[in-house]
C-alpha cells in the first residue's frame, strides 16, 4: 500500500509543478517547477519499483539516478541562463515578440 501512497504524492507534486511552470511569472519559480516536475516523476518511478514481493526492482532506480543527473544539469543550465537574463520573466512583451519586432538581429553570427 505504501508505494501507492508515495506514487499519488508524486502525482500531486507533478500536477502542482505542471500547473505552476506554465502560470508562474518569475523565471526562478519556473525553474523550481521544472525541478519538481522531475521529482514527481521520480517518486512515481521509485514507488513502482518497490512493489514486487521478490525484492526491489533496480532498473527504475537506475532510471531515476539518470533522471536526477539530467534534471540537475538542466536546472544548472537554466539557472546559468537566468543569471544572465536582464528582465525578471521570460515573457516580457513575449506575445508579439517571436522575432517580429524590430530590434537589431543577432545576425552577426556565421
Amino acid at each position: 500500500m505504501t508505494p501507492l501512497l508515495y506514487a499519488s504524492s508524486g502525482v500531486a507534486v507533478f500536477a502542482i509543478a505542471l500547473y505552476r511552470i506554465f502560470t508562474a511569472g518569475d523565471v526562478l519559480r519556473k525553474i523550481i517547477a521544472a525541478n519538481l516536475l522531475g521529482g514527481g516523476v521520480f517518486l512515481i518511478l521509485v514507488a513502482i519499483a518497490r512493489r514486487p514481493a521478490a525484492g526491489i526492482d533496480p532498473v527504475p532506480h537506475a532510471l531515476v539516478l539518470t533522471g536526477i543527473v539530467v534534471s540537475v544539469s538542466a536546472t544548472a543550465c537554466a539557472l546559468a541562463l537566468a543569471r544572465r537574463l536582464e528582465g525578471t520573466t521570460l515573457d516580457d512583451g513575449d506575445d508579439g515578440d517571436d522575432g517580429s519586432d524590430d530590434t537589431e538581429v543577432a545576425g552577426r553570427g556565421p
Partner: protein, 308 residues
C-alpha cells in the same frame, strides 16, 4: 504503511505548493531545499538508498545552493505579472483532471508486475558487480549512463557558453571584503569538513560495487566539499583553463573509450570483454567521480560572477 510514510507523502505536495505559490522568492527557495530533504527521506523509506544519497547531496545540496546563488546574483526583481486569470483557471482544471486520470491509472497498476528485477539478479554474476543498481547503471544499461554523461558535459558547456573570458572576469576570489568576520568561521568549517568529505566520497565510491553508493553519490558529496571550499575563499576552478577542461572531459572520455574498444574488436558497443567487467567498471567509476564532481562545481558560479 506507517504514520511516517503518511506524514512524508503528505508533506511533499504541501511543500511543493508552498514553494511554488509564495510570491517571496527567498521563501520559495527555502521550501524547495526543505522539499529536497524530505524527498531524500521518502527515498529512504522506499528502500532506495542510492537515490536518497544523490537526492540529499545533489537535489537539495548542489541545486539548493545554485538557487540561492542565482537569487543573490539577480537580486529581488519586481514580481512579474502572472498569466491571465482565464488561462490559469483553464490550466488548473486541465492539470487536476490529468492528475486524477494518472492517479486512477496508478491505482489500476498490477500489484505484482513482471519487473526486470529477477532478470537483473539472475545475470548479476556476469555484470562483475554485486550491487544491482550499479550493475544496471554501469553495465546492463551502461549506454544510458554514457549518454547521460554527455548530457552533463553539454550542460556545463551551455552554462559556460557565455562565461566571460578570464581577462574580463573579476578576481576569482570571492568579493567578500577580507575583514568580513564570517570568513574565518567558514574557513574553520571548511578545514574541518572538507577532509571528512573527501574521505566519505572515497568510501562511497569504493562500496558502490557491493552496496548502495558509486560514482554519482561520491561525486555529489565531493562537489559539496568543493563548493564549501570555494565559499571558504579558495580559488574556483577557471572554466577556461586547459587543465580544468581536461579534467571535465576525462571521465566521460574514458567511458567513451571503453565503449569504443569492443567495437574495434567487432563486438557490440559498450560490451565489456569477458572477466574485465569489474576492473573496467571500477576504472570508469573513479574517472567519472572526478569529472562529475568538477562539473557540479563548475555549475556553481564563481562568487565573483555577478550575473554577467
Amino acid at each position: 504503511m506507517t504514520a511516517l510514510d503518511v506524514l512524508l507523502a503528505g508533506a511533499l505536495p504541501v511543500l511543493a505548493w508552498r514553494a511554488l505559490a509564495t510570491d517571496d522568492l527567498h521563501e520559495a527557495v527555502v521550501f524547495f531545499i526543505a522539499l529536497g530533504l524530505v524527498a531524500a527521506l521518502a527515498w529512504a523509506r522506499l528502500d532506495a538508498p542510492d537515490i536518497a544519497l544523490v537526492e540529499a547531496a545533489v537535489g537539495a545540496g548542489v541545486t539548493g545552493s545554485l538557487f540561492v546563488t542565482t537569487l543573490r546574483a539577480r537580486g529581488l526583481r519586481p514580481p512579474a505579472s502572472p498569466a491571465p486569470r482565464r488561462a490559469r483557471i483553464a490550466l488548473a482544471v486541465l492539470t487536476i483532471a490529468s492528475a486524477l486520470g494518472i492517479g486512477a491509472a496508478l491505482a489500476a497498476l498490477p500489484a505484482e508486475p513482471p519487473g526486470l528485477g529477477e532478470l537483473v539478479r539472475a545475470s548479476l554474476p556476469e555484470t562483475g558487480v554485486q550491487h544491482t543498481v550499479t550493475a544496471v547503471l554501469l553495465n546492463v544499461r551502461g549506454y544510458d549512463t554514457l549518454l547521460e554523461m554527455a548530457v552533463l558535459v553539454a550542460a556545463v558547456l551551455a552554462v559556460l557558453a557565455r562565461a566571460p573570458s578570464p581577462s574580463a572576469r573579476p578576481a576569482a576570489r570571492p568579493a567578500a571584503p577580507d575583514d568580513d568576520p564570517a570568513r574565518p568561521l567558514i574557513a574553520v568549517l571548511a578545514r574541518l569538513l572538507v577532509p571528512g568529505i573527501i574521505l566519505v566520497a572515497g568510501y562511497l565510491l569504493w562500496r558502490g560495487a557491493f552496496a548502495p553508493g558509486g560514482a554519482f553519490q561520491a561525486a555529489a558529496v565531493l562537489a559539496g566539499g568543493g563548493i564549501l571550499a570555494i565559499l571558504a575563499g579558495r580559488r574556483a576552478p577557471d572554466p577556461h583553463a586547459r587543465a580544468v577542461r581536461r579534467g571535465l572531459v576525462f571521465g566521460p572520455g574514458a567511458f567513451v573509450l571503453i565503449a569504443a574498444v569492443p567495437l574495434i574488436a567487432g563486438r557490440h558497443v559498450l560490451e565489456y570483454p569477458e572477466g574485465w567487467a569489474k576492473v573496467l567498471i571500477v576504472a570508469v567509476e573513479v574517472a567519472l567521480t572526478f569529472s562529475i564532481a568538477l562539473t557540479l562545481v563548475l555549475f556553481f558560479p564563481a562568487s565573483g560572477e555577478k550575473g554577467t
